[in-house]
């Protein structure tokens, strides 16, 4: 039963990927390429590239793409639901407990630790994206000697974006779309 297989594969991806995004990639690759041979490694790399070019989480994008390939639109919907339903249930349980017990010391203590850690994790991820945008290297591969190879148009876009967000309170959506169009302009000239 291919529908069940699709659903179950992506349910595992949804359930066992923590921290989102690229942490999920090895699990997705194992399910989609190694276990079920729904995609070749090349196709998997293609879908990663496309995932970076389109909105939405990598897991959902892969689910839709694989589902389409295997069983058409019903397959895409099945795989996407597989990706979402298990974590939907886990998250709802968390949401329930949060709303019910958020004033109890256990929850307060837990959140007092998680809140600053979340900000740090987002900061790390944001810096990774910034380094990739300005220097076209992974943050792990970045070193002081790379400093000179700054992508000046990208740096200008970043600084302008920070200014608009900080001082003018611009809508983040316009910042991202504006940066995209600047990217086309810089690529053309």
């Amino acid at each position: 039963m291919l529908y069940l297989q699709l659903f179950w594969s992506f349910a595992q991806i949804g359930l066992f990927s923590f921290g989102g995004g690229y942490a999920a990639l090895p699990i997705i690759q194992k399910q989609v390429v190694s276990v079920h041979h729904w995609l070749t490694l090349q196709e998997f790399m293609d879908i990663l590239a496309i995932s970076q070019m389109t909105p939405g989480p990598v897991a959902i994008n892969t689910a839709t793409f694989v589902g389409m390939r295997v069983l058409g639109l019903p397959g895409a919907i099945t795989a996407t639901l597989g990706c979402v339903v298990p974590s939907f249930m886990v998250v709802l349980i968390i949401a329930y407990f949060y709303n019910k017990y958020k004033n109890i010391w256990v929850m307060q203590g837990l959140l007092a630790g998680l809140r600053p850690a979340t900000v740090s994790l987002i900061a790390t991820s944001g810096l990774g994206i910034l380094i990739a945008a300005l220097y076209h290297v992974e943050i792990e591969a970045f070193a002081i000697k790379n400093i000179a190879s700054l992508d000046i148009p990208a740096a200008a876009t970043f600084i302008f974006g920070m200014f608009l967000l900080g001082k003018r309170r611009s809508d983040p959506i316009y910042i991202i779309i504006g940066a995209g169009f600047l990217g086309i302009v810089f690529a053309l000239f």
Partner: protein
Amino acid sequence: MHKSMSLTQLFTATFRLSAFTFGGGYVIISMMRRNFVEDRKWLQEEEMLDLTALAQSAPGAVAINASILTGYRLLGYPGALVAVFGTILPPLILLSTISFFYIQFKENFYISAFMKGTSAGVAAVILDMVVRMAKKILTEESFFAIAILLLSFISSLFFGADVRLVIFGSGLLGLLRAYYANRKFKGVRS
């Protein structure tokens, strides 16, 4: 629960945000924070930070988790369901369309130039949020929060610590601190 909003409003808001979430889950959180906290005042800053922390700690994509949590917080179970559909529909529609001509899509000059350009904007959006959230934590002037902030930042940025480890460690430290504070408080009373 919020009286001045409807399921339709929640659906439109999450659909719109999700359609523009280039560059991963934290972008949608930045946009939700801006939209739900600052512009519409549906949530408070503190709550948004809590929901982000929980979304990060649960399995699955952060963007999806965050929309389930905010949907539930705002309009209960129907809210969670509507928010998750609003969030998964844009990528579902886009990717199923693109799957027919994905090679051309991937190799299109304008699309890849656009996407390369967005990453500088995405970095700005995320780091702008980080600055605001960090300010909020730093102004509370709790030594513990600042210590966790620095410790987790250094361990994840410079030592590449696993997300799970950082979450588990900081949650545990928070629990221990609350446990001892609680015990001391009880001890004083009795």
